[in-house]
Structures are given as C-alpha cells and as structure tokens.
C-alpha cells in the first residue's frame, strides 16, 4: 500500500496549486463559476481528462492523481462543475463512451452525475430509436453548469419494437423487467436538450450550485451496463473523490487559522501563543494527518486493491467528512468575530464543508455501510494502531 505521494504526484500538486493560487484563490470563490478558469484548468493542465483513459485522449491517470487534483481544487473552493465532471468521468470509466470521454478529456464538455448513482423516481421508456426519461432529480450538483447528466437506471428499458413500450422504473414500486436482473445501466441526458427543465436552488454553499432537474420525456442515450457491482463501485469512487476534496477544504481551513494565529494579537500576545488556541490547533492537525492518510489509502485501493475499495471508501466518508466539518467549524470560531462576517472567507469553507458532509446522504449511511462491511468480513489489513508506543525512561 502506498500512502505517500510519488515525485510525479508531487509535481502535479504543485502545478495545480500554483495555477489555482493565481487564477482562483478562495477569495474569488464567492464570485461563482468562471468558465474561463475552467477552460484554462483543462487546457493548460488537462485536469478534466486526468482519469480519462489514453485511448479517449485523456492522461489515463488513476484515482491517486485525481485525489491530488481534487485536494487542491477543494483547498481553493473552486466553484463550478469540476467535481461534478470528475464524478461523471468516474462513472464513465465503468461504461465507457467515446463521445463523452473525449469531450471531457478535451475540456469541451462538462458533466454531472445523479446522486445517488441509481436515483429514485426516474422512469425510462424506450421510444423510436432511443429512450426517454421522466421524473425529477431534486438536487443535481452543478446542474446549471453541466452540459450532460449521467444517471443509472435499475435496468435497461426493454428493446424497442416489443408489444408494449419498454419501461424501466427507478426505485418505483413497479415490478422490474427481466432486464433489471442484469443490473443498472448508465444513461446520458443532454441538459440543454428538449424535455429538460433546470431550476437553480439557493444553496448554503455559495461557491457551488445545485439544481433541480425535471425530466419530461427528455431523450437519453444508453451508454452501457454498469451492473450492480459497477454501480456500487461508481458510488465508492465518488465517495473517495469527495473525500479528496474534503481533505483540501480541511487543510486550507487549518492553514488559514494557523496563519491568523501567528499575526492576530490579543492581550498583548499572538493568539497562537495561548494554549486555548494552540492545543485546539494541535488537535486539528491530528485530524489532518489522519484524514490525509485515509484519503491516500482509499485512492490507492481504488487503483490497486478493488476488493478493499468499498471499505476504504466508506471509511473515507465517515472519517474525512466529519473531520473536515469540525476543522472548518473550529477554524471559523477561532477567528473570533471577524470569522462571522460576510466579507471574511471563513464561512465559505465552513459552508462547503457542511455541504460536502451531506452530499452523499446523511453521514450515518457511511457508518452503516462500515458496520455492514465489518459484519461481512474482516478488512484485509488490520494492523494495530499501537505503534509507536511511548516509553518512560
């Protein structure tokens, strides 16, 4: 297992970090999505194509590299559809589609993915040469900026030309067609196309939007079969990607308050010299160290040890999601009154951290998943936490 960055990954980190520091610092995040920055991110750095296989024009990198990039975009609170496009690209690794993958790789196309991966309330009907979708997705990440929406249906709509039109109901009460037995299929909808209504939502997170998407006979394209295992794997990959962003939010929050504690004076002393502040920052650092370890491990399993991925992904969300919010919260509180103002950036991190924490469902779902995985069997590596142990002289 590899938990430290390779020299190449460190280079990638530096490249993304210095690009964002110049083009998209956190202070700019409140201005929202800047398509020009997004274009440069893909053009100069090729970030959207990072995990797209080389045969589709991407860099063919792994989750370890994507995690490095997402940590930086998270630290910068980068607005816009970068994370959503990464989610979609992760889904496409399981049901490759040349048109979409090359579009993403070339930075021409932004995309998003329905969450959960197999959403409730979608109905698909095979019509003419294609499929149409009906139903509402109440919260689609970056749904206003994305060009294409991916979603998984529980099973393929029945083939065209049968007596009754094939119908596949996602999460509904209807009996699944025989095709459902083979598991979910991935479909794509053009969000700018007919039958699609997008209603932007007011969001806690000022730096990244969510959209209600209403589909009323919207044409969709079936990309391929994910299967139950594939759909679960996509959900796990999404969880790891989000945890990487959360690691960045956590780290940037801690960096900001540590920097402030070195310059802010109260009662004649820098606030960082008070144990009341210092010890809390030390505890926050401990969370960072563990969060980074958990994310590196999860990304490594995604690339190298798929059998461990479900466990590592659930751990990543259970640990990092919580740690990220706690650190962002404490970083805001330790700023004192100025941290409560609209002008200060602290609340941007706090709100992103909360929005991320609940993005994939109430956090207890990740704990429940861990409980179920523990019941099912021991994780492969159960090294004790007990080294190093201290000694007295």
């Amino acid at each position: 297992m590899r938990l430290v960055l390779t020299p190449e990954q460190r280079e990638l980190r530096e490249a993304v970090r210095s690009f964002l520091a110049a083009a998209a610092p956190p202070a700019k995040a409140r201005d929202g999505y800047d398509p020009a920055v997004h274009a440069r991110l893909n053009g100069e750095l090729g970030l959207s194509g990072l995990i797209v296989p080389e045969e589709y024009g991407g860099a063919g990198a792994g989750m370890a590299e994507l995690a490095v990039a997402l940590e930086e975009t998270g630290a910068a609170l980068l607005p816009g559809p970068f994370l959503a496009t990464a989610f979609a690209a992760l889904a496409l690794t399981r049901a490759p589609d040349k048109e979409l993958l090359t579009g993403v790789a070339e930075g021409r196309l932004t995309a998003t993915l329905a969450l959960p991966v197999v959403p409730d309330g979608l109905t698909a009907r095979a019509e003419g040469g294609g499929v149409t979708l009906r139903g509402t997705l109440p919260q689609v990440l970056s749904g206003a900026e994305a060009d294409v929406l991916l979603a998984a249906l529980p099973g393929a709509p029945a083939a065209d030309g049968s007596g009754a039109p094939g119908e596949s109901s996602a999460g509904g009460s209807g009996a699944p067609g025989e095709s459902a037995a083979d598991g979910p299929v991935l479909v794509a909808v053009d969000l700018g196309g007919p039958g699609v209504t997008r209603v932007p939502l007011e969001t806690l997170d000022l730096t990244r939007g969510q959209t209600r998407v209403e589909l009323d006979g919207a044409p969709a394209r079936v990309l391929g079969r994910l299967g139950a295992e594939g759909a679960a794997a996509v959900a796990d990959l999404v969880a790891v990607a989000l945890a990487a962003e959360q690691l960045g939010v956590l780290r940037a929050s801690l960096d900001a308050i540590v920097a402030y504690a070195k310059i802010r004076v109260t009662f004649g002393r820098f606030i960082g010299s008070y144990q009341g502040v210092k010890h809390k920052l030390a505890d926050m650092h401990c969370k960072l160290e563990q969060a980074e370890s958990v994310v590196r491990h999860a990304a490594w399993t995604a690339d190298e040890d798929p059998a461990e991925l479900p466990h590592a992904a659930a751990l990543a969300q259970a640990y990092v999601g919580r740690a990220c919010f706690e650190v962002a919260r404490d970083h805001l509180l330790l700023h004192g009154g100025v941290g409560f103002t609209w002008e200060h950036d602290a609340h941007l991190f706090y709100k992103r951290a909360k929005a991320d924490e609940v993005l994939l469902g109430p956090p207890r779902v990740h704990r429940a998943r861990l409980a179920a995985l523990m019941e099912a069997g021991e994780p492969a590596s159960t090294e004790a936490a007990g080294e190093p142990a201290p000694r007295e002289a």
């Binding site: 007011e202 004076v265 002393r269 009154g337 409560f340 200060h344 706090y350």
Partner: protein
C-alpha cells in the same frame, strides 16, 4: 402595595397593554416607542432606578415580579435593550448630574434610543486594546476611528463611546468615555453583513466628530473603570435572561427534529436522546440559577458556564439537524426563499460562540472567577499603549 398586589397589577396591565400576536419587525420603531412610553407612564420602566432621575425607586423584588409576569408576553423592547441594560445604568452610576438629568428619563420612556460603542476590529475579546482616538480641542474632543458589532446603531440617537485619549499610558489607563450623538456630522453607520447574509450588526465610523467635554462620562483617562461598570451591567442583564428567547419555530430544536427525522432508525433515536440529554441538563441548570437568583444568590461568573454551554449546544443542534436531514439540509425548498431553514440555522449557529465573549473567554472567566485559578502572565498591563502589539500584525 405588597408584592402580591404589585404582581397582580402588573399582570393586569400587561394583559391589557402588551401587543397581541406577532412581535412586530425590529424596525417598527414608532410602534416600539409608543409602547415604551406607555410602559414608562404605567411605572414599569426603570423599576429599580432612582426616582430622582426618573426611575421608580423600587427593589429587585418588584423588578423580578414584573419580569416573571412579562415572560408570558413578547414586548417590543428590543431596540431599547442596550440603553436599559447597559448604557443607562452606567450613566446612573457614573454620569454627572447634568448627564443623568438630560439622558435618563428620555431613555426610560423610549424617547431616545441608545447603542454602545466599545468593540473594534482590532480589539475583539481584548476590548481595552481599542484604537479610536479622541483628542482634546478646547472644550470639546475630536474623535476619529471605527467601531464594530454595534447593535441598533442604525436606530440610535446616542451612543456610549469608549476612546483612547492617551497612547503614552498603558492600555487600560489611557481611555476616556463619552456620550456621542449618533446623528452628529462625521458619524457614519454602515450595516455589517454577517455570514448568514443578513445584517444583525453595524460598523460605525467616526471622522472628525466633535464631542463636547460636557458629554465626557467620568474622568479623563479613567474610561476603563466606566467601561467595567457597563460590562458588569451587560453580564447582569445577560444572566437575568433579558436576551432573546429561543424562536418557537427553530428547525433544529428537539421537537422539530422529532417531527422531521427518521425515528425508526435506532441511531437517529440515539442522536435525539443525546440532544435531549444536553438540552435538559442545560435547561435544568438555567432553572437552578434562576431559583438561586430568586433566593437572592447572585450567580456571578457562573452565568458564563450557562452561556458557554448554550453556545456549544447551539452548534451541536444545528450540526445534528443538518446531519440528520442529509442533502436537503443545504438547499432551499423553493425559489426565492433562501437556502432553507436548516441552512440558515447552521449559518447562524456560530454567533452564540462569538458574541458576548468567545468560548475561550468564557472558559477563562469560569477558571479564574469561579474556580479561583491563577491568571496567565500578562504582558499588556504596563507597556505604554503605543509600544504594545495590538490587532493584526502583518
């Protein structure tokens, strides 16, 4: 009149005069002033204040009796709370007779609204590190500087203003207190938008503002002792429960969560048990403090424990509510209605940990004044202010 009669009369007056239904919006100033005048004329404003300056000259017993009755009503007294709780008592204690004569009665009768101007951007918890300057110019003083976190400044006629008059002296020994006219030339009030997106507070800027020496409260360079009086009254009025109650439609309360959360999940039920335990433990502590106060035991710094616990509970419950709700907690349910009640709650939750003293300040107070622990070493008590590090040092 014995206490029972007093209480009965108060109850009757409130029943007949307290506004029914919704509390009017904060800016319904004429309505509030009208009510305050009737309250004063009925003898229920300034109950314990000296009769000589316009108060009723009664005791804490009557004050508590009226407060107990008033708890059942929503009185539109918010804009007067700084004057009644802090600046007015300071003038009664430390003002000149001319100042008392001029300011106290209009304050009690709601004719004039007051704010308090201590906090500055560079001097959060460390109030005495303030930098707003007042320089003598004959029989007046010229004020330049900036204050922040000023409630009701946009409505205020007068402000109690703490300034630095001697930068050569150590921090606490070069401050002077004034009454400043909030409509005077050079005073600018600007709403301060906070992280909820709303403006609960203001910034106030002073640009060459002239204040007559007759409006000085206390001696020159002795303003800190006046400020300590004000802050003592602030703490008293906080622990007397003068502040805002909990909103009835709080979406993060136990009652609300029991309606909205999936209580078929044992883990959710246990989360609610945790919230219930914390809520009840704090509620019982507050009730015990209130009973002690009624028995004449002044809670003193122990009130800081209640404030600290409330700050932590407020964060806990907003955090819990959003975790229970999941994705929908962070988006609005319909267009134009903002990001939703839970999003607002999680945005507002830090306020309680920051306003009225941070959690760290509360822990210092509990440690030193309740438990009697020794203070940390202080480097800022003897150095001339001009040589002291203050604010944010690039």
């Amino acid at each position: 009149m014995n206490l029972d009669d007093y209480r009965r009369a108060a109850r009757a007056w409130l029943r007949d005069n307290a506004p029914a239904g919704e509390t009017p919006p904060e800016d319904a100033i004429p309505h509030a002033k009208h009510f305050m005048a009737r309250l004063y004329d009925a003898g229920y404003s300034g109950i314990t204040w000296p009769a000589r300056w316009g108060g009723q000259g009664l005791t804490q017993a009557e004050e508590r009796a009226f407060a107990a009755e008033a708890r059942h009503f929503s009185l539109p007294t918010y804009v007067f709370s700084i004057g009644l709780g802090m600046t007015g008592p300071t003038l009664v204690d430390r003002g000149s007779d001319e100042q008392r004569e001029r300011f106290v009665r209009p304050l009690l009768r709601g004719e004039e609204i007051w704010c308090q101007l201590f906090s500055e951007p560079g001097a959060g918890s460390d109030v005495a590190a303030l930098q707003t300057r007042a320089v003598r110019d004959g029989d007046r003083w010229i004020v330049n500087g900036q204050k922040v976190w000023t409630s009701v400044a946009q409505h205020a006629d007068w402000g109690l203003l703490l300034t630095r008059t001697n930068p050569e002296a150590p921090k606490h020994r070069g401050l002077t207190m004034f009454v400043v006219g909030m409509r005077d030339p050079g005073v600018t009030v600007r709403p301060l938008k906070d992280m909820t997106g709303r403006a609960h507070f203001n910034e106030v800027f002073f640009d060459e503002v002239a204040v007559p020496d007759a409006h000085r409260v206390g001696e020159v360079d002795d303003g800190w002792s006046v400020a300590v009086t004000t802050l003592l009254h602030e703490r008293l009025s906080i622990s007397a429960g003068v502040g805002m109650g909990r909103a009835k439609d709080d979406p993060t309360s136990l009652e609300a969560l029991r309606r909205t959360a999936d209580t078929s999940d044992p883990l959710v039920r246990d989360d609610l048990v945790e919230l219930h335990i914390r809520t009840r433990a704090l509620a019982l502590f507050n009730q015990r403090l209130a009973q002690e106060a009624e028995a004449g035991l002044f809670p003193g710094a122990r009130g800081s424990a209640a404030k600290l616990l409330l700050a932590e509970l407020t964060l806990f419950e907003a955090d819990l509510a959003t975790r229970l709700a999941g994705p929908s907690a962070v988006v609005g349910t319909r267009d134009g209605a903002g990001a939703g009640p839970l999003a607002h709650a999680i945005s507002l939750a830090p306020a309680m940990s920051l306003g009225g003293g941070t959690n760290e300040i509360m822990r210092n107070i509990i440690g030193e004044r309740v438990l009697g622990l020794p203070p940390g070493p202080r480097v800022d008590k003897t150095v001339p202010f001009k040589d002291l590090k203050v604010g944010t040092q690039g």
